[in-house]
Structure formats: C-alpha cells, structure tokens
C-alpha cells in the first residue's frame, strides 16, 4: 500500500507541476506571439464574422492587405495566411473556421507551391492549435495526423512534448516584454513585410527547388478544401500569388504542381487567378525575396487582387 501511495504521489505531484509549467509557458508565448495567437483566436473561436477570408501561407499573410481589399470590394475581409501553412494545415483552419462561423461570402484560397510538399511537417505550427482542440473540426482534422491529440485535449501537460527549446524560450521572451518579429504593422491578420527590396542579380538557378515537390497527398487536401467549400456553399477563388521571375515555377516539379492545380480548379468550376504572368514578377523592387513581396509589392498586389475579385464574382452586400 505504501508503495502505491508513494508512486501515486510522485505521479500526481509531477502532473500538477508539469501542468503548471505548461500554463506558464503557454501564457508567456501568448504574450510574445500576440499577433499569431490573436489570428488563430479570431479564426478558430467564435469571434467576428467576415465576408471574405484570404486563406493561404506566408504568401497570403504578407501579401493580402485587408485595408485595400475592404476599400475596393466594400466588404469586410480577414487575412488567414498561416506562416509555413501546408495544404493540410489550411484544411484544418478552414474546417475550424466554418465550425464556429457562418460561411463567408468568398474564400480567396492562395496556393503556394511549397504548401504541396508533404515531406516536411504537415502542420508547421502545431503548438498554436493546441488551445483550440475544443473546436470539434480542429480536433477531428488534427487527429487524422496526430493520433496523440486525445491526450493533448484532455491532459494539457502532454502538450509540453510539442514545445521544443525554441518555443519555450519564446515564453521567456514574452515575460520579458518582447514581441514576435513582424517587421511592420498588423491589421486583421495581415502583417506588413518591411524587408527591403531584393537584389536584381538573383537568377533562376534552382533556389528553393529542393522544397518544390509534387505530392499526391497535398493535392488531395486541395480537393478536400474544394469539397468542404462546396458542401458549405462557400464560393472559392484560387490564387497563385506572384513570384520573382517565376523562380519556383521553373523548378523540375513546379510546372506539374501548377498544372494540377489548374486542372483541379477546372474540374470543380473554380476560378484560378494565376499571377505568374503578371508584370510585377519582373520587378525586383516589389520583392523582399523570390517568394514574398515587400510592403510596396503587397499593396500593389492587393489592389490587383481586389479588383480581380470584385469583377470576377458578383458579391452580395
């Protein structure tokens, strides 16, 4: 009996302490990642409803300026760009959003070539979803890839296993008053990219091509997203944002990825706005790096995108 009491005491005290450590770390991270936590809260909890959701990777997060899109379309938009977001992750966010919000009037789905690479972690920011496991759609979708989601949901201390030292150090930074590096300002999920313009000497020499991989799984998630939107009566526009000199497109698998996106869009009667041919792609002063526009480029692109959405679809106010 003494042995059982001893072991139970050790386990209980450890669980209590670990829970405490988890909540301390989580609180510190919320202080540091004020923008990202705020963005996930907006999307996955029952907060403000939006007419237009721009969903995608960092190429949405840093490109689609809601101020410009709202002023052109007359709608209320929200930038749901997730840094490093894979197609699987976008599927989680979409399902999670629809679980607690009415269907938006339009989903602008940005498809980045790197989002189809399923060799890397399917969820690049798993720690941000742990607070939203009470969202049924988030839990169900994540559980398909993370079988341990059950433990994460009911025993918060197990979430600690997802925080590496870098993530834990962000908690310390949060308590010290530091904030996540976001370059410039933020507005409704959008973050200004104030990195200066890139050099014009960058050529098509395969930069980043190791990340461009055609993946059946990635394209299956795109089909799932289309199916979800159809079931929820959400009109969709698929967008391929500008790249500097189409460098990713020229990677060995690049054309295959784009062609498949195009054919999936045609199959589902979804407009595909491919901006790889846009003159902005030739202007290095609009880019921070080969895959991301700088602030000036984002503003210009947001204007182009807003006008294309406005004219493409009859939006009801």
């Amino acid at each position: 009996m003494k042995l059982i009491i001893k072991i139970t005491s050790i386990v209980l005290f450890s669980f209590l302490l670990s829970n405490g450590i988890y909540f301390l770390i989580e609180k510190g991270r919320q202080k540091y990642f004020y923008h990202t936590y705020g963005q996930f809260d907006e999307l996955l909890s029952n907060k403000t409803n939006h007419d237009i959701i721009m969903l995608g990777s960092s190429r949405t997060h840093l490109h689609d300026n809601p101020r410009i899109i709202d002023s052109i379309t007359g709608m209320d938009s929200y930038n749901a760009g997730i840094e490093g977001g894979s197609m699987m992750e976008l599927n989680v966010v979409l399902n999670g959003y629809l679980e607690v919000h009415p269907a938006p009037k339009l989903l602008v789905l940005e498809v980045s070539m790197l989002s189809f690479n399923m060799d890397k972690n399917e969820v690049s920011n798993p720690t941000f979803y742990l607070n939203h496991l009470d969202n049924k759609a988030v839990y169900t979708t994540l559980n398909e890839s993370w079988k341990n989601s059950f433990f994460f949901k009911w025993l918060p201390l197990f979430r600690l296993s997802q925080f590496d030292d870098i993530n834990k150090s962000y908690a310390l930074k949060g308590y010290k008053g530091e904030k996540e590096a976001l370059h410039g300002g933020t507005y409704k999920g959008y973050a200004e990219n104030t990195t200066d313009q890139m050099s014009d000497t960058v050529t098509s020499n395969g930069i980043g091509c190791q990340w461009v991989k055609y993946s059946e799984k990635g394209h299956k998630f795109l089909e799932k997203i289309f199916a979800t939107c159809k079931a929820a009566n959400v009109p969709v526009v698929t967008v391929y944002a500008p790249e500097y000199k189409q460098l990713n497109f020229h990677c060995p698998e690049g054309k295959r990825v784009i062609d498949n996106i195009d054919s999936l869009c045609k199959k589902n009667n979804i407009p595909f706005l491919n901006y790889l041919d846009n003159p902005i792609c030739e202007d290095h002063t609009m880019f921070a790096n080969i895959g991301h526009l700088n602030r000036a480029g984002a503003d210009k692109f947001s204007l182009i995108l807003a006008n294309d959405i406005k004219h493409l679809l009859p939006l009801k106010k």
Partner: protein, 474 residues
C-alpha cells in the same frame, strides 16, 4: 521496441504485473513470450536468427558437458563459428566485400542488401560467453531449453546489454522471485533516471552533434566542431548508460539483478580506469575471452602491449563495420599502451598524485576520450580528420555559428544554455549518488521530491521524437 515509446509504457507494467501474478513455473514462459514480442517490434523475421543461435548453443552446451575433456573442443568451435558466422554475414560481410572491391577497382563481388539485426553483437557475445564458460567447466549446461532461450533473449538486456554472464543470470531464472516493494521502487527509480538521461539530455543535445557532423562543410569553425564533439561525448554516455539503467531497473522490478555497466566513467583519472568503468560488461568480456587467452599480462612486456592493442582494435571493430570504429579502437589501444608503459617504467615519484596533477590527469583522460570520439561519430575517416584538424588548428575561416541546424533540427542559444544546465545537473547528481541511484532510499521525503523532480523534468522538457538508442546499431 524502444524503451522511450508509448508501446513500452504499456508493455512494461503488463509484463511486470503478469510476472508476479503467474505461478513461478510459468514465469519463464511468460518472460520468453514477452521478450519475443519485444524483439519482434523491430523486424519480426529476424527472430529466426536468434532461434538459430539459441538452438546451436543450447545443444553445444549439453554436448560439451557430456563429452570427455579431449573431445569438447569441436562443440565449442561449432558454437563459436555459428555465432561469429552470423555476425560475419549480417554485420561484416559488406565491409570486407566493399574493401575488396575497392582494392580490385570494381564490383568483383556482390554486396548484400540486408539490415543489421538489432542487438546482434550483444546477444551473440552473451551466447558465446555461455558456451565458453561451459567449456571451461565454470558453468553447468542449462538443460531447460526455455530457460536457456530466456537467458539469451531476456528483454531488458536483449538489444543493448549489459552482456551478462551465465553464472549471474541463469540461476536467477530458476529462483522464485517474491515481490519486494523496496526493490521494485529501486528499479523504478533507476528507470526514471535512465529516462531522464535519454529523453531530456541525450535526445536534446543530439541535434547539435547531428547538425555539425551531418554537414561538416557548413560548420568548419573550430568552436562549432569542439562543441559538437563535446555534446556527442556527453550524448553517447547519457544514451548508453540510460539504456543500461532502464534495463537494470526493469529487471530489478522483477527481482532480477543485472551487472552494472557504467560507474561514472567521466570521473576517471587515467585511461585504464576509464575502461574499467565504461561499458563494463563488454570490456570484461574482452578481457576474459580474448585478452587473457592471448596471455594477458603474464607475458613479456612487448607481448602484453600487443595484446592490449589488439583487443582494443577488435573492440573497435565490434562496434561497427567501418574503418572509423577500428581507428577509434586503435586510438584507445594506443592510449592504454602509453599508460601501461608509463606504469611499467616510471616508478617512484608520481607527479599526477597531487591536486593539480589529478586535475591534469582528468583533463588528459577526458581529452583522449573526446578526441577518439571524433572518429566514432564521423561517417568516414576523411570527415573525422576534417573535424579533428578544424579543432586542433583552431580553424576560423568560417565564423562561429551560435544557431545550428534548421527546422525541427534547429539548436538555438536557449537550447545551448539549457543543455549545459542539464548536463551540469546530471553530473552533479551522479557525483553524489550511487550508481544504482539508491542514495536517498532511506530518506523518504527527499526520495519523493527527487523522483517528482525527475519525472517533472521528463514530462516538461523531454524530447519525444522517438530517437532510438545509439548502441542499437551495434
């Protein structure tokens, strides 16, 4: 099955509970089945290799014991050939063929496309230990086939030791083990400490060593190379001693006593003492079955030095089929020979017996181990030489990189600070605790607090990416 896995967390309590619930006469069968399940979590079909050597050695033991002294040797040779033959095919064939083809400047002989069976080097050595001891008359043959099979396959020490002797382990399977709460908790405490060393320390610092040794061209600064080698030196100790701790602890929970495999080897003052405290089960195996049969120390000085060098070369080769391991063994052989020469010829005044001398001895010993591990870790001699020269020449062509690796493998400044803190905590604890971690067993509340702290550290700061133990590859 990995110790640091959910499967083991389920497997261990069930096996241990059933062990105590079952009558003694069924316990061997239960443990044998459990050990088979444990082993088959890797590549199931490889259990046939185990069965092959078990059957050969079981009958060899009986035949040796039954045969007149003058006719025993063939059965011993049969057993040794079977065990070494299995090692030769699965572990060393591609090494020899690859080198032969290289010398012949072409693919003269085909390579085999096979995966090394897990724990092969360990259980074959344990099996050979049995037949040799029976041959020497130090051990009666085990006539119960199931018990003999269990001796080879006992799951806590099946894949990475300690390499047990039949005199120690076999009798324990015949003895009825009653549940003793104190011994059970001692086993759990030791396992907990092992898990701490593995998932909190070793699996954390592995990222640094892997980043530098994986891309030596990107991290040629001497400080990066030094830190990587230092972290690897700590990692391999934590990883391997953790496995031994968990194995010994798991066995102790069922009342079995396995031999101690590590006795704080990084707190030693000469290379000879280091080897008396590092991987003790292997070093004593080589001493008893190779060094002493070669003549040991009871020969001329030159022959003694040769014996030592040869044994260390073979020990290096045991670790892996690569010239880097042979070189690692050769380096340790050289260090030991130098130490032996010093012992044999420098008598009387010993400058290392002062405080400063002891500090110097410790640094020298650790330094020898540190530099030798460069060859142990590197993928090739060329890569090892590159890293060694980077360190020794204080190469500074590339700046020191504070952050190494990328993505999930990134090792940041916070990881560095935290790792050093954990390493310091680990060594301070081991300095003050006994090797079986029972120092606090009679101090109720301190014991409770210590175990709570360790379990909290494991849950809160453990790295759970299912990294296998380094010695699994041997």
């Amino acid at each position: 099955m990995l110790f640091n896995s959910i499967e083991f967390l389920i497997f261990f309590p069930i096996v241990t509970l059933l062990f105590y619930l079952l009558p003694h006469k069924f316990r061997w069968f239960h443990l044998l089945v459990a050990s088979c399940i444990f082993y088959m979590f890797f590549i199931p079909v490889y259990i046939l290799i185990l069965f092959f050597t078990i059957i050969i050695d079981y009958f060899a033991g009986i035949l040796i014991a039954n045969a007149p002294p003058s006719r025993r040797k063939p059965y011993l040779i049969m057993s040794l050939v079977a065990n070494i033959g299995v090692l030769a095919v699965f572990k060393y064939y591609n090494f020899f063929i690859g080198n032969f083809n290289m010398l012949a400047h072409g693919d003269m002989l085909p390579m085999l496309n096979i995966i090394l069976p897990i724990g092969l080097s360990f259980h074959t050595f344990q099996a050979m230990s049995y037949t040799i001891e029976v041959y020497r008359g130090n051990q009666q043959p085990e006539r119960h086939f199931g018990i003999y099979a269990l001796y080879v396959m006992f799951y806590p020490q099946l894949v990475a030791g300690p390499i047990e002797r039949p005199q120690n382990l076999l009798p324990q399977f015949h003895f009825k083990h009653e549940f003793k709460a104190e011994g059970f908790f001692d086993g759990l405490r030791l396992m907990l400490w092992g898990f701490f060393k593995k998932v909190v320390v070793a699996d954390r610092i592995v990222l640094y060593a892997d980043a530098i040794y994986g891309h030596p061209g990107d991290y040629s600064n001497w400080l990066n190379c030094t830190l990587a080698t230092f972290f690897f030196t700590i990692q391999i100790y934590c990883d391997f001693s953790a496995y031994s701790d968990i194995a010994i602890g798991a066995a102790r929970c069922m009342g079995f006593e396995l031999m101690t495999n590590f006795k704080r080897p990084y707190f030693t003052f000469n290379i000879n003492e280091y080897w008396s405290k590092w991987h003790i089960s292997l070093s004593t195996w080589f001493k008893d079955y190779l060094y002493i049969p070669l003549g040991g120390s009871r020969v001329s000085k030159v022959r003694k030095y040769f014996n030592q060098g040869f044994v260390f070369l073979v020990s290096g080769f045991w670790h892996g089929a690569n010239w880097t391991y042979i070189l690692w063994g050769g380096m340790h052989g050289t260090f030991n020979i130098i130490y032996q020469i010093k012992k044999d010829f420098v008598k009387g005044w010993d400058p290392f017996n002062t405080v400063i001398g002891k500090i110097f001895s410790w640094i020298l010993t650790f330094g020898c181990v540190f530099f030798a591990f460069i060859f142990f870790r590197a993928k090739s001699i060329h890569e090892a030489w590159q890293i060694l020269t980077n360190i020794v020449t204080l190469k500074n062509a590339q700046p020191f990189k504070l952050i190494v690796g990328e993505g999930a493998g990134m090792f940041s400044v916070s990881s560095m600070i935290f790792s050093f803190a954990l390493i310091a905590f680990m060594f301070i604890t081991e300095y003050f605790f006994s090797t079986d971690m029972t120092t606090l067993k009679n101090k109720k509340f301190r014991d409770l607090a210590f175990c709570t702290l360790i379990l909290t550290l494991i849950i809160s700061f453990g790295v759970f990416q299912h990294n296998s133990f380094i010695y699994f590859q041997f």
